[in-house]
Symmetry: C2
Subunit: 325 residues, 2 copies
């Protein structure tokens, strides 16, 4: 049965405020249906996109969690590059209060070339902020040192079309089936037939949540309930719980407990403090509470597909595959 | 004889407007006497510094050639990073008209942390813009699509102290020698002795010039006369001379002819258009007129030392050396 969509996302940056040789500042690129979406855009995101073989010209929408430098300073370069290459298609940028000012000031940096195709959307309350035929994006305010939104990307899966019901109602096979499948009402022999008469119950679509930077939030459990994938920040290990509190961050254990309560399928941690040379300690702490967890590396890819387990492809595996070709 | 200084510079970015996987946007880091200087600061410069094992905390002065994005968009990240790490020492930034506005708008990008230790200096005419005991920097306006300055960094070499002359004047060996060596006058037995009486003729210091982006300029010949090193942009090969003119750039041959007329020791080309997969064609075109030329790669290092030939260490050699350790 058609209509499924796949989410394929790649981590472009998994560092916190201070990047390292292996971890760039925050950004995740998400391909979903016919759209390419960025979640945050730290410095060098356009370069990371190049290494991930994704053209910046393809980005349709950018969701910014919050306006700290390590999540936004890739925007000036990205916006200038696409303008320089002649892009005129609209690029939509969503973010909290201040996103408009940010783009205004980016336009003033030197001899900037940015066109009028950059459209900002200021999020001022929780709720659905984007919606098309295939998916929707919901924002929920978290708790950081500045306003920060988590984002949920969710497939809008159409209910199943039950052919036997349609035939029983006397609807002939043909274009009318298509109208009903799309949820439209039809008229047949002077009678109105609603789509609901031939469609099955609502079906769960695939769903992923990205926390942005935040102190662990009770509300995240409901927000990420039954999600296929929760990407949650885990800047510190347990021993630095006090630092996490002070700077508005989570420890790995926090994220694991939320993932468990929310019954998500896969937890991916990100936003590693540069005090850690690797993420093993954090992953182990999370595993005590939630088995299905990995710490993201730059260029790690996650694929979410209906009725299949969430698939993780780390950067090394990709290189190996390319070498095998 | 002491007093010599060494210039050691590393190319952090050698691309033109569109970066590639191997070439970052423009920046050169220059170590000279006790100072670390940046020439331009394209996006990802702080990451390139990390790969070059140079801390952004060490940068004392930044000279910006012009305010196009590919030469400045590393500033927001660099300035925020050093502020985040608690740097309070002044950082001086020199550039053409607009440099002040640039830093103003960089401060407005999101929740910016930049301190009041960033000091801008607007260059409005040709001449010496920086000077300390060891070296000076001279700016000269070039010709690009926007205001662009070339910079010359020149050692201030002290004249030789001639001991025999000092002894003949009856000056006792000791601290007075130091005063005279430093160019100060002294009083001895009621008589004033000027340093010039015991110092030799002025001595040529080491000297390097960086063109920034420019159409070839006649005035560059005088500006870079007898320099140890001329770093000149060469964005295009000969076949695109029309494009070079249109966009305010030089071809490799232009740079070579200037280097020849100026009698420089070493020419290094940079700012390669992304239309070229490698720089061989441009280097060959330059070699027809000037033998001592290389095209810069990211992380190539150049060392200039008095009475020694200019030394080029390419990135591969450095890696090999590190592996040997």
């Amino acid at each position: 049965m058609g209509g499924y969509i796949i989410i394929e996302l790649t981590f472009l940056g998994t560092a916190s405020a201070i990047h390292t040789k292996n971890r760039n500042h925050s950004s995740i690129v998400v391909k979903i249906s016919d759209k390419t979406v960025l979640l945050d855009c730290g410095e060098s995101t356009q370069k990371q996109l190049m290494y991930a073989n994704i053209s910046p010209m393809k980005i349709d929408i950018i969701f910014i969690t919050h306006l700290h430098g390590d999540h936004i300073l890739g925007l000036p370069g990205l916006l200038q590059s696409i303008a320089f290459r002649g892009r005129t298609e609209p690029l939509h940028i969503y973010g909290p209060r201040g996103i408009d000012d940010l783009i205004y000031h980016i336009r003033q940096l030197g001899y900037s070339l940015i066109g009028n195709n950059i459209i900002t959307h200021t999020i001022s309350e929780d709720g659905i902020v984007y919606e098309d035929d295939h998916f929707m994006v919901e924002a929920k305010q978290m708790k950081h040192t500045v306003i920060d939104y988590a984002y949920k990307i969710e497939e809008k899966r159409k209910p199943k079309f039950i052919k036997s019901k349609a035939l029983k109602l006397g609807i002939p096979e043909g274009p009318l089936f298509g109208n009903l499948q799309r949820g439209e009402s039809i008229e047949l022999n002077g009678k109105i037939i609603n789509a609901s008469q031939v469609l099955g119950p609502p079906r769960k679509g695939i769903k992923m949540v990205f926390s942005g930077d935040t102190i662990p939030q009770e509300s995240m459990i409901e927000f990420s309930k039954d999600a296929d994938l929760l990407i949650h920040e885990a800047t510190f290990a347990n021993e630095s719980k006090d630092k996490a509190d002070e700077y508005g961050h989570s420890v790995a254990e926090d994220a694991a407990l939320i993932a468990k309560e929310a019954n998500v399928e896969q937890l991916v941690l990100t936003h590693l403090s540069n005090r850690y040379t690797n993420s093993d300690e954090l992953t182990q702490e999370a595993k005590k509470y939630f088995e299905n967890v990995v710490y993201a590396d730059d260029f790690m890819t996650v694929i979410i597909e209906n009725k299949k387990p969430v698939k993780i492809i780390n950067a090394n595996e990709k290189q190996t595959k390319q070498q095998e070709k």
